[in-house]
């Protein structure tokens, strides 16, 4: 069963907490980004790459990236189990989602540590 194999957390409580925690991290990251851009109206390449050269920024960005992956996985798993009833199609869709998220995370790590 898809529910068992591709279930993100141990149970509904874990899913629920993952979704809340990742939402808080994403909220903080968004606030930080918006604030940073507001305080740097003449943002250029040097300042932008300077920001991402700090280790704390790399860690913060990676945390946000992992939060996106976790949040999207829990959310899309819920959407898929609501709306995609044929098990084979749902399995395929969820497999696509998790592969895409995996690629995004690996790619994102390369981008962040490439600075």
């Amino acid at each position: 069963m898809v529910i068992n194999i591709l279930n993100p957390g141990r149970n509904g409580v874990a899913d629920w907490m993952i979704q809340r925690a990742s939402a808080v991290i994403l909220g903080l990251y968004t606030i930080f980004m918006v604030a940073y851009m507001m305080f740097h109206p003449d943002l250029d390449y040097a300042a932008w790459s300077g920001l991402f050269s700090h280790l704390w920024m790399k860690v913060f960005t990676l945390l946000a990236l992992l939060s996106i992956a976790a949040h999207a996985w829990v959310g899309l798993w819920i959407v898929a189990t609501d709306y995609i009833k044929p098990a084979a199609i749902r399995f395929g869709a969820l497999l696509f989602v998790i592969l895409a998220l995996f690629v995004f995370v690996v790619w994102g790590v390369q981008v962040i540590w490439g600075v």
Binding site: I3, N7, G9, N11, G12, V13, A14, D15, W16, M17, I78, T81, D82, Y83
Partner: protein, 236 residues
């Protein structure tokens, strides 16, 4: 003009290939009748129409139906509350199989109700008279025990429409919390462990359709929030 245009969902699986809408003109003589009164007048015009009704005062919960798009009990819903542009559309409660006309098969609804074990469970020896409860503990059951299981809430809930076999639904969860909150019930842990999967409770997305339609003015969303809080406390 006191003639009300009423459109009623008709479906008899023995003779109809598909559901259809039948139109009636009902002379209300300008009175603000209850929707059930209108149904009774329709029944005089066409006795083949079937619907459930019993107490006709919002206590038995038999005549839940969809009136101009909103679920409710037809016996306690005045025309003035639902009729728009002199038109009334009556359909069965959505999301569950139709047996005939306005009568739905509520088996899944009852199955979910049965699943939460809606009865007091206490392993301690019964006292000689009765299990006592403080007035404060008794107050915790207000807003929970009044549910009449009319299914207006669960059949207005999209989460219940998509997963009626796995999501308990607002009506069942309100009753689940009624026993979780009862100081005399000792099976809290067992009850919670039956509810911690991703579907039973957590499929609720808090859109509050249940609160919007409950004819008894109850708040299943709040009860679900309390269950979720108990589950999180239990785990974290």
């Amino acid at each position: 003009m006191s003639t009300l245009q009423v459109s009623v969902y008709r479906y008899n699986p023995e003779s109809d290939d598909a559901p259809w809408m039948q139109d009636f003109e009902i002379d209300t003589q300008g009175r603000d009748l209850m929707v059930l009164n209108v149904l009774q007048m329709i029944k005089e015009q066409d006795s083949s129409l079937v619907y459930r009704a019993s107490c006709r005062e919002g206590v038995c919960g038999s005549d839940g139906m969809n009136m101009n798009g909103k679920n409710g009990l037809s016996c306690v819903t005045p025309l003035s509350e639902v009729v728009k542009d002199n038109r009334l559309v009556l359909r069965p409660l959505p999301g569950l199989p139709v047996i005939r006309d306005l009568i739905i098969d509520m088996s899944l609804f009852y199955k979910q109700y049965e699943r939460i074990q809606p009865y007091l469970q206490n392993d301690e020896r019964p006292p000689s008279i009765e299990r006592l409860q403080s007035p404060e503990d008794r107050d915790k059951l207000d807003g929970l025990y009044e549910c009449i299981l009319c299914a207006c809430c669960s059949t207005s809930c999209p989460s219940f429409w998509w997963n009626p076999d796995k999501f308990v639904g607002p009506a069942g969860l309100l009753q689940a919390y009624r026993f979780l909150a009862d100081s005399r019930d000792t099976h809290t842990q067992e009850r919670l462990s039956e509810l911690d999967d991703p579907f039973s409770v957590f499929r609720c997305r808090g859109i509050m359709n249940c609160v919007n339609v409950c004819p008894k003015g109850l708040n299943p969303t709040r009860a679900i929030g309390k269950i979720r809080e108990m589950l999180v406390r239990n785990t974290a």
